[in-house]
Symmetry: C2
Subunit: 287 residues, 2 copies
DNA sequence: AAACTAGGGTCAGAAAAAGTGAGTCATTCC
DNA sequence: GGAATGACTCACTTTTTCTGACCCTAGTTT
C-alpha cells in the first residue's frame, strides 16, 4: 500500500473536459481522424487529448494498431456513460440556444442546395413567417445532429427524415450548346463533373463512363460554367428545375434516372422546437 | 427575417465546455465566488467564462446586482438540464477512475485529521488490506463529492454519512505546563486557537471568552506548540487521545463538552465501489 | 516486390484560452 | 460612516490547444 499525504498538490485535479470529449468522440467514431472531423480539429490534436487523458487516468483507453485504434476493455466499459453524458450536455445546449433565440433556425445543408434550392425559396418563407430568422451553414456531409448546434439537416439521403424532393438526374446544357441527339454524342463534348457526385455519369448511363472533362468542387460553379456553354453537366432536378423552366438550361435527352437519394430534411429526434418544426414543414411542402 | 449564408465561418462553433461548467456551478452555488472555490479558480475567471457564454448565446444568464448574481428566467430554465448532464459526466469520470484503478481510494479530509487521526491508523489498514492504495488530500472544507474525484470524505459534520468518532473538546497542555486548577486560571496563560475552530473556547466555556493567545492555521502545528509548552490548546478528543494515552499531553480540568459535529465519513451516494466501501467500513470500526 | 494508402505518433512553434492579482465600484450590514 | 461582500476590469502571465510537417506501420494495389 502506498500513501500520498499530499498537501503540495492540494487537488488530484479533475480530468479535463475537452480530453473527455475527445475520448468519447474517438471511441464512438472508432478513430482519431474521424473524431477530428467531428470536432473540427486535426487528428493530432485528438491524439494528444486522448494521450493526456490516458496519462491522467493511468491506463490506456485505446489499443493502437497500425490501421487505427481499438477500444481497450476499460474504454469499452466506460464509453456508454460518457456518450450519454455528452448527449445530455448537447441537449442542454440545444435547449439553451432555442430558449435564448426561439425564432432562429439553424439549417445545415449542402453548398449546392443552399445556393440553388434553398436560397431562392427563402423570400417566400420570409413572407409566410417574418418572425423566423434562418441561418444556413453549408457542409459537405450531414453533421451529427446530436452533437452539433443545427436544428435541421437538408441533404440528399436515402431514408432519414421527410422527403422534400425526388432526385432525378439527366444531362443539361446551355440552350445554344450545339446538337446532342444521342448519348453517344457525349463522347465529343466536355462532361462536367462535381466532386460530391462523382458517379453521376455512371449512374445515368448505367455503365462505366470515363468521366472526361473538368471537375468542380462546387456544383453551383459547375452550373455556372454550364450556363456559359462550357459543357454538359449532370443535372439534379431540384437544383436545375428553375433554369429549365426559365429556359436558361435545356435537357438534350429525354432519359431521366431517379436516384435513391432524395432531398430530405430531418431534425434531432422526432421533436423539433416550434420554429424549427415550422420551417421543416414548410420545406417538406415546397415545390 | 435575416439570413446568413455563411461559408466563411463554416461552423457556428459550439459552446465551450468550460464556460458551460462555469455557468452550471455558478448557478448551482448562487455566485461566482463560490463557483470559483469549487472550480479552484479565481472569481474573475468564472466571471469571464460566464460572460463568454452569455455572449455566445446572445442572452444574459445572470442578473447582476451589487450583492451577487441572480439567475435570469432563461438561466433558471436551463440550469437543471446542465446540472444533470454534468452530474452524469462526473459519474462517468468516477467510473472511469474506479475501473482504471480499482484498488485506489481517494480520501478528502481535514489537514488535522489527516495528520493526527488518519495517518497513525494507516499501517493497520495496510496490514488488513495490503492491496488497497490510499491517497489522502487535505482540504479545509468537505468537497462536493458529486463533482470532485474523491471517494470518501472524512470531516467533522453533524449528520452526513456514518459516525467514526465523537467530538469532545477540553483544554490540554504539556505535562509540565504549570498549575491549572480552575478554568479561571486560563486567564493567566496563552490559550492557543486554531483557525478552523475559532469558537472552541466559547463552546467549552459556555460563555464569551476573549480568545487571547496565538492563532494557528494548522491544528497539528498548534498541537506541536502545545507539546512544547507554549500554552493551552482546546483539544479534540479524536485528535489528542493518543497524546493523552501516551502522557505527552494532560487534561488539566475534568470538564469535557461534546460538540454536535462528530468525525464522520461519507461517500458519494449510498453505494461506493468495493475498495472505498471497505475503507469506509474500516474507518467506521476504528477505535 | 514496390508503391500506395490509411491512420497514428511526434515535434516545434504559433495561437488561443484561461487564470491571476490588484484595483474599482456599488450595496448592505452594523 | 466604515467594514464587508461580491462582482467587474485590465494588464499581464501561464497553460492549453492546435497546427503542419514529418515519420512509422501494416494492409492493398499494381
Amino acid at each position: 500500500m502506498s500513501h500520498s499525504l499530499s498537501i503540495a498538490p492540494p487537488r488530484p485535479k479533475d480530468l479535463p473536459l475537452n480530453a473527455l470529449r475527445a475520448f468519447e468522440v474517438s471511441a464512438r467514431l472508432g478513430g482519431f481522424a474521424a473524431a477530428g472531423q467531428e470536432l473540427n480539429v486535426s487528428p493530432g490534436a485528438v491524439s494528444a487529448h486522448v494521450k493526456t487523458l490516458e496519462e491522467a487516468v493511468g491506463a490506456p483507453l485505446f489499443q493502437r494498431t497500425a490501421r487505427g485504434v481499438v477500444l481497450t476493455p476499460l474504454g469499452r466499459r466506460v464509453l456508454p456513460e460518457f456518450s450519454r453524458a455528452f448527449d445530455d450536455l448537447a441537449a442542454a445546449v440545444r435547449l439553451l440556444r432555442s430558449e435564448a433565440a426561439p425564432n432562429t433556425v439553424h439549417i445545415a445543408t449542402l453548398p449546392s442546395v443552399a445556393q440553388l434550392w434553398l436560397s431562392p425559396r427563402l423570400p417566400e418563407l420570409r413572407r409566410i413567417a417574418p418572425e423566423i430568422s434562418v441561418s444556413i451553414t453549408a457542409l459537405e456531409e450531414p453533421p451529427n445532429l446530436k452533437r452539433t448546434p443545427y436544428d435541421l439537416c437538408l441533404f440528399f439521403d436515402e431514408s432519414r427524415g421527410q422527403q422534400v424532393a425526388e432526385d432525378w438526374i439527366f444531362p443539361v446544357c446551355a440552350p445554344g450548346f450545339g446538337t446532342l441527339t444521342d448519348p453517344a454524342d457525349l463522347r465529343r463534348v466536355a462532361c462536367i463533373t462535381d466532386t460530391t457526385w462523382r458517379d453521376d455519369w455512371q449512374d445515368w448511363a448505367g455503365q462505366d463512363v470515363a468521366a472526361q472533362g473538368p471537375v468542380y468542387s462546387l456544383y453551383a460553379l459547375a452550373l455556372e460554367e454550364t450556363l456559359n456553354g462550357a459543357g454538359v453537366l449532370m443535372g439534379h432536378l431540384p437544383l436545375v428545375e428553375r433554369h429549365l423552366a426559365a429556359g436558361t438550361l435545356r435537357e438534350p435527352f429525354g432519359r431521366r434516372v431517379k436516384t435513391p437519394r432524395a432531398l430530405r430534411v430531418w431534425s434531432v429526434r422526432p421533436t423539433a422546437s416550434g420554429a424549427a418544426r415550422r420551417v421543416m414543414d414548410w420545406l417538406s411542402d415546397s415545390r
